[in-house]
Each structure stands twice: as C-alpha cells, then as structure tokens.
C-alpha cells in the first residue's frame, strides 16, 4: 500500500473510538448527577428527582434489583461508584484508561497523562461513601471531559487517529442527548401543557443544563418552552451537543476516515445526517418524539455495528467491545 500517511491498525482505531466514547460517557453521567444535585436544592421536599436520572440511563430494572429505591445516595453509589456496573463513572474511566493504555504510542503523551491522571484522581475521590461525596467531584469530572477534548484537539495531529477519537465522542454525545430528551420530555410534558407551575421553568432549565446548553439556548431561543427545548437539543445546527450537530461532526470525521470508500457505516450515518438537516421539528413532535428518539438510538447502534465491520474487525479473530447501553424509553 503506497500511502504517505502512517497506516492505522484496526485494533488501535477501535480503542481510540472507545476511549473517546467512555470519556464522553463518564462526563455525561457526571453532568447529570451534578445538575440533579443542584436541582434538588430548589425543589419542594417531596420532589424526588432521582428516579428520572436512572431512567435517563436506561437502567431502571437493574437499578431496582440492586439498590431498590432511588435516593440521592443510592443513585450516586450506582452511577458514580459501582465498579460492577459497566457504565458507572468509575467503570467508564477505567475502560477509557485501559483503551488509552493500549494505544499509548498513538495518542499524545498529554492525552495519556490526562486520562491516567483523571482515573487515579477519581479512584481516590470516589472511594468514600456516596453521602460524603461533594458535588465538586462531578464538576471536576465535567471539566476533565472538556480538557480531554481540548488536549486531543491541541496535541494530536488531526489525522485518521484523531478522527476516530472525534467520531467516538460525537456518536456518544448524540446518543446521550437523545436519551436525556426522551426521558425528560415525557416526564415533564403533563405540567408543561397545564397552567404551568413555578417549577416548570426550573425543570426544563435543568434539562438544558444537563446538556450544558442553558446559556446558548437563551441566546438563540429566548423563553423556555418544551417545543423549543426539543428543537434546540435535536436540530440546532450550531449547539455542540445537539443531536444534529453531533451527527454532522461524526459524519465529517467518517468522511475523512473512509477516503472515498463506500461502506455501510458511511451510508447509514450520511442518511441520518441528511434527515436531521431537513427535519421539521414541529411535525416530528406531533408524530411522536419518543418514536423518533427510539428509532434514532437504534440507528446509532446500527452505525456503531457498521463501524465494527468496516474498520475495526478487519482482522480474522477479533474481540469486539460491546459497550452499548440498552435502548430505553419504554
């Protein structure tokens, strides 16, 4: 093969992709917990908002079995600290670090040291009981996630390896934003269509904050309304955590990676991008937001499986990383 660029091993591409997904996943869980801790302070005493957090993660049955009632302590113990739950913050960081460790020669030293440092720090911080965990640790982790993106952008050449990192991050982001919306929308809808309680604004603001989108929403859409929030998080072309923006950036990276070759993952992601670009949000909500989001998650999983076939599993016997979460919503 006569190319100028250094070839990228399939195994390495796989690990880069999952390193980024796990970092993003850990950051998202941290943000969800952080926002909810703040929200708790503003709600009346009977307004327990912890079950919805579990629902957002699509883990209600497992959680009920292991922990029973959703309280602040039990949810944090599960989502932040439980090493046996594969999508907890500590598990995600462990997996991100193991993936980073296996591709240390490809990522920059700065990237590795950051991932390693966060893992070691969180391991120490999260060793204490859930009730002693300060909200600061979630804020720290959110910032660490932002730094991860900054470090990869600033210290790695924007070559094929970097594009796999970005692809992983964007795929995870699209998935997480869709989950957040799916759960919150239906939980909040009854009160939103009613007269409106003083908490409506608060709860919808929390949804936006869970996607780090409150300020940017205000700038582009102004007043809080459920439809506008959905439009913003699904189809805003510029907001970096909107589904449309995430899919578009993922598709950009995949276009660079494939270098003109035609394969399933490229086709599927291209179709998705086009649909989102052309979507009428009002019509989509009328014909069923839940159906749309459910379908979206299924298609994201199909793309992920396509990536496996098209890029990661080119070797004869490959162990695939099956790190998807259950498609939730029902």
């Amino acid at each position: 093969m006569a190319t100028e660029t250094r070839p990228l091993l399939s195994r390495v591409a796989d690990s880069l992709y999952w390193m980024a997904r796990y970092m993003e996943r850990a950051e998202n869980v941290a943000r969800l917990l952080e926002v909810n801790l703040h929200l708790q302070l503003d709600l009346p005493l009977d307004g327990n908002q912890w079950q919805p957090v579990i629902d957002t993660c699509g883990e209600a049955p497992l959680f009920r079995k292991l922990y029973g009632e959703a309280t602040q302590e039990s949810v944090i113990a599960f989502l932040a600290q439980d090493r046996d739950y594969s999508n907890s913050i500590t598990s995600c960081l462990f997996a991100a670090r193991e993936n980073a460790r296996s591709v240390r020669e490809t990522i920059s030293s700065e990237t590795w040291e950051h991932v390693n440092g966060i893992y070691l720090k969180v391991l120490k911080q999260y060793a204490q009981p859930a009730e002693d965990l300060s909200p600061e640790v979630f804020r720290d982790l959110r910032l660490a996630g932002h730094m991860f993106q900054g470090i990869t952008d600033a210290t790695m050449s924007h070559n094929e390896a970097w594009h796999f990192v970005r692809l992983g991050r964007q795929m995870e982001r699209a998935d997480k934003t869709s989950r957040l919306l799916d759960v919150k929308y239906f939980m909040l809808l009854p009160s939103a269509s009613g007269v409106g309680t003083p908490y409506d604004d608060l709860l919808w603001s929390a949804v936006l904050k869970s996607a780090s989108g409150f300020e940017m929403y205000r700038q582009s859409r102004g007043k809080i309304s459920p439809r506008e929030v959905v439009g913003f998080l699904v189809a805003d072309p510029d907001f970096p955590r909107s589904i449309r923006h995430s899919i578009a950036r993922a598709a950009d990276s995949l276009d660079v990676i494939r270098e003109g070759a035609v394969c399933d993952s490229v086709r599927l992601l291209g179709e998705l991008r086009q649909e989102l670009d052309e979507m009428d949000v009002g019509q989509m909500i009328n014909s069923g937001l839940h159906e749309f989001l459910d379908n979206l998650q299924l298609r994201l999983n199909t793309v992920s499986a396509g990536l496996q076939r098209d890029f990661f599993a080119l070797r004869p016997q490959t162990q695939t990383q099956t790190q998807t979460q259950p498609v939730g919503g029902e």
Binding site: M1, T3, R6, P7, L8, L9, S10, R11, V12, A13, E98, R101, S102, V103, R104, E105, T106, S109, W112, E113, N116, G117, L120, E160, I257, E259, F311, F312, L314, R315, P316, Q317, T318
Partner: protein, 483 residues
C-alpha cells in the same frame, strides 16, 4: 545534614574514596547537594514519584492480579561515570558484543568454535535457549544481536566485571530516558557546571538501526513495527514508550498475519506490508509453527517469512543461546577465538556445576556463593548464599544435583554503592549498571545506562521485581569535568 552520618562501610562507593574524601568527578554534585536547604531533596523526591504515577510509568508484577501496576522506584542521586572509564566500558562492550555475534552466527552455521574444541559441543546442545530451528538463517548483515543490555558490576576491588549478557529482549532503556527527563524536571540544579552526555537520541538511533535492517528493495521508508505481547506484559510501558518515541506502530500478534510469503498488519484501510519487526516477545512465543505450539501471542508462519528474507526480526530468534549462563563463562574464550584479543572487561569467576570438581566446591560453599539457574533472568531462580536460610540452601543443593547443567555459581560480589535517599538521610545502597548497545551497520553504545539499585539495606538483588529501584546514570563528557 544529608551526609552527616554517611558511611562507606568498607564497600567501594561510587561517590567517595575509601578515606571519605569525595571522588573528583562527584565533587560538584556533592557541593550542590550540601548547599540545598533542609528538606529540598525529599520534596523533589516526592515530586518525582508523583510524576511517575501521573505519567503512568509503571511495570506489572507477575504473580499479582492482572493489571497491577507499580512505579519503578526512582532515586534522585545520580551515579556518575567519568569520561575515561566510560571510554573503556565502550570499547569493552563493543568487543564483547562483536564476539558474541560472531559466536551466534557460527553456532547456527559451521560451528567452527565447537570443532576447534574451544567450547564443548555438549554445552550448546544442552542450552535451553539454543534454537536448532534457526540453523542456516542469514539475518541482514550477519547481525543477530541488534539491541543488547549488558549487566556490569563493580566489585570491592574497584574493577568492573560483566555479570550477565542480555541478548534476547533486554528491557529498561525507557527508564534511562525517563530518569533523565525526570531529573531535569524535578532537580535541575544538580546539572549545573557538569557536562553530562545526553541520552535523548536513543530512539532515533534505534529507529535508524531498525530501518537499516529492512529487506532489500523496500524503498526509502521501510515499515518498522514494535511487536508487544500486550498490555499485561511487565515491560508494556517500555514498548509503548519506544514505539511512541520512534513514531512506529505498536502491534500485537493478533494484528499481524502471514500471507503470500509476507507479513501484513491489519489496518483500517486493509492489509499493509511490514518490513522490520522489533519484537519484544520471547522466541518461544513468536511462532506456534516453529516454537511453542500453544502460543497465542505470536504470529503463525512468521519465522518462515523471516528465513526467506522477506521480513527482518530484531533481535534475531535464537540469539539467546549466548545468554546462557554456562556459555557466558566462555565469552572471554570467544573474544580470543574470534577477535584475537583479551577481554577488556573481565567476567565474574564462574563455577559450572556440570563439572564434578566445580560442583563439589559449590555444594560445600552454598552459604558463601551466589547460585543462578543458567537460563533464567530477572533475578528469578537465584540463591544469594550469605543471605539465605539453611532450607533454601538445601533446596538448591537438591536442584543442583538433579540438573547440574542448569546451575552456575559465582562468588558473592561486594557490589559498589551509591548514596541513596532513605527516609531523611542518605545511605549507601548497592548498584549495578546496564548499558545498551545497538548493532546495525555498526556498533553504538548509549552513553549512560540503567543504574539499578537494591533499596533494601544490605540487599544485593537489584531487579525491579525484587525490590530494586533505579537512578540516573551520568556519563561525563571528556575535558574539564570528565577526569
């Protein structure tokens, strides 16, 4: 005061003469250390340890849970080698490696040295690391040991001796580079006024060496990869480090396939031909077709491709025959046989247990000698007589009687010492020195090496798996400070 209670205890100290005066090459360092404010050294030491953890410079310990990582303890007080002494070490190592290479090539071709009865044939045939499978192979340039790490020690008589040759997959060079880096970051003031020879160009030289080994007609930029057994290997950090510094892919056995007489790696764009493999997998696990059939780490068929000259393996499989500790005792004879010279750096006197007289002597003096298994490394399979219990000695006596060929014994050496930070003050600790030699178109010795230090008081075992740490090694440039 750091040096207040410092004693050389009748050992050779690398920093002080027997009368307690400082050696000339270390006088500037001593001045700097004495001018440090209280607690400064300790703070720098802790900063260095934190940095090691943050940088993930760790090794895995076998026998502990998979993925258990530890930092390789690092001590901030460097070991200094004056220019004139280094010049001799360099000549001695080149002479030795050249002879070992002649020997390996000879063993896998005409075996002249056996026919001329310089080494008994029996010794070769019984060497666990002898690989008849590679007979007749002609590696590019006739070089079999491209990367070597030779262990040197200084005895109480002040002389340097070769303790061991490590030809197979020597490790540790990454620590040489990282230790220097760490020193510069945490303790820059100690470099002042000294001309310490840099070690940073090792990865470039290693890459040049590897590229020079490519099969002919592979173009300007051959594809060089580093083959690792994977993340749970004890030297995984080093594998990633070297691959990263050379900018080459780090591959595992499962990333490579043999097809159409070539070796290919599986990339996102399909298969890509590989020209040179710096393999950090032992011979045994390299190719299930040729060596151990149950190996999952290697690549099936790779040795056949190598034999045909379509890929180069570095180091060359089979070169470990010269690592055998019985064969070690013949290296001075090899140097005389192939090069017509006396060894510049002598061997440690060695008793070979398969010789009846030697064995009798060893069995009667187990409490005084160091006994080693002929084909082990890493400090495993070893008895340090004076520090052993009667039960351990009896165990080794049984093992020696059972398989005398597999054991050698050497006098317990009074390894030289270097001041080392223990708690709040400096104490002497025993060290060895492993310099690294590259052999491609010519021989190059890295000016420095890994100084390993036995951190436990009185201990003579410097291996990382047995409580050893390391120090930066300063080879001084010739001229004002070098002598």
């Amino acid at each position: 005061m750091l040096f207040e209670a410092y004693q050389t205890d009748s050992f050779h100290d690398e920093m002080f003469n027997a009368d307690g005066s400082v050696r000339p090459e270390a006088s500037l360092l001593l001045e700097t250390l004495q001018s440090l404010e209280e607690g400064h050294l300790q703070r720098s030491q802790r900063a260095a340890e934190r940095m090691l953890l943050q940088m993930g410079i760790t090794f895995n310990v076998y026998g502990e849970a998979a993925g258990t990582e530890r930092i390789f303890p690092f001590d901030l007080i460097p070991r200094i080698v004056p220019a004139a002494e280094w010049e001799r070490i360099e000549r001695g190592l080149k002479q030795r490696i050249r002879a070992l290479n002649f020997f390996i090539d000879d063993i896998y071709h005409d075996q002249k040295i056996l026919k001329d009865k310089v080494i008994p044939e029996e010794v070769i045939r019984s060497a666990a690391s002898y690989r008849p499978q590679v007979h007749g192979i002609n590696p590019p340039g006739g070089v079999w040991c491209h990367i070597t790490g030779t262990d040197l020690i200084r005895h109480g008589d002040g002389e340097l001796y070769v303790l061991e040759d490590n030809l197979r997959v020597p490790s540790g060079v990454s620590y040489v580079l990282e230790n220097r880096d760490l020193m510069k970051r945490t303790f820059p003031e100690v470099f002042e006024g000294l001309r310490v020879r840099p070690v940073d160009d090792y990865p470039s030289n290693l890459l040049d060496t590897l590229e020079s080994l490519a099969p002919p007609h592979r173009g300007e930029k051959p594809v060089v990869v580093l083959l690792t057994p994977g993340m749970y290997n004890s030297a995984y950090f080093e594998h990633t480090f070297l691959a990263q510094k050379m900018g080459i892919p780090l591959v595992q056995g499962s990333d490579l396939i043999v097809e159409d007489g070539f070796v290919w790696m599986q990339t996102t764009k399909g298969p890509c031909k590989v020209d040179v493999i710096y393999r950090r997998i032992d011979d045994d696990f390299l190719d299930p077709d040729v060596f151990r059939a149950d190996s999952l780490l290697g690549v099936r068929g790779i040795v056949a491709v190598y034999r045909r000259g379509n890929v180069t393996l570095a180091n060359a499989p089979g070169n470990g025959v010269a690592d055998d500790k019985v064969i070690y005792s013949y290296v001075p004879d090899m140097i005389r046989y192939y090069e017509g010279e006396d060894a510049i750096i002598p061997n440690v006197p060695t008793f070979l247990c398969w010789r009846d007289a030697d064995r009798q002597h060893v069995l009667q003096n187990l409490d005084k000698l160091v006994v080693k298994a002929a084909n082990e490394s890493g400090g495993y399979g070893m008895l340090v007589g004076p520090h052993s219990t009667k039960a351990e000695q009896d165990d080794f006596a049984d093992r020696i009687r059972e398989n005398p060929r597999n054991y050698i014994a050497q006098p317990t050496l009074a390894l030289s010492r270097v001041p080392t930070l223990i708690g709040d003050k400096l104490e002497g600790r025993h060290v060895d020195l492993r310099p690294y030699v590259l052999y491609g178109k010519n021989l190059q010795v890295l000016p420095g090496g890994l100084t390993r230090v036995a951190l436990r008081k009185g201990s003579l075992v410097v291996n990382s798996s047995q409580g050893g740490g390391s120090k930066d090694t300063w080879v001084l440039a010739g001229g004002v400070n070098g002598h």
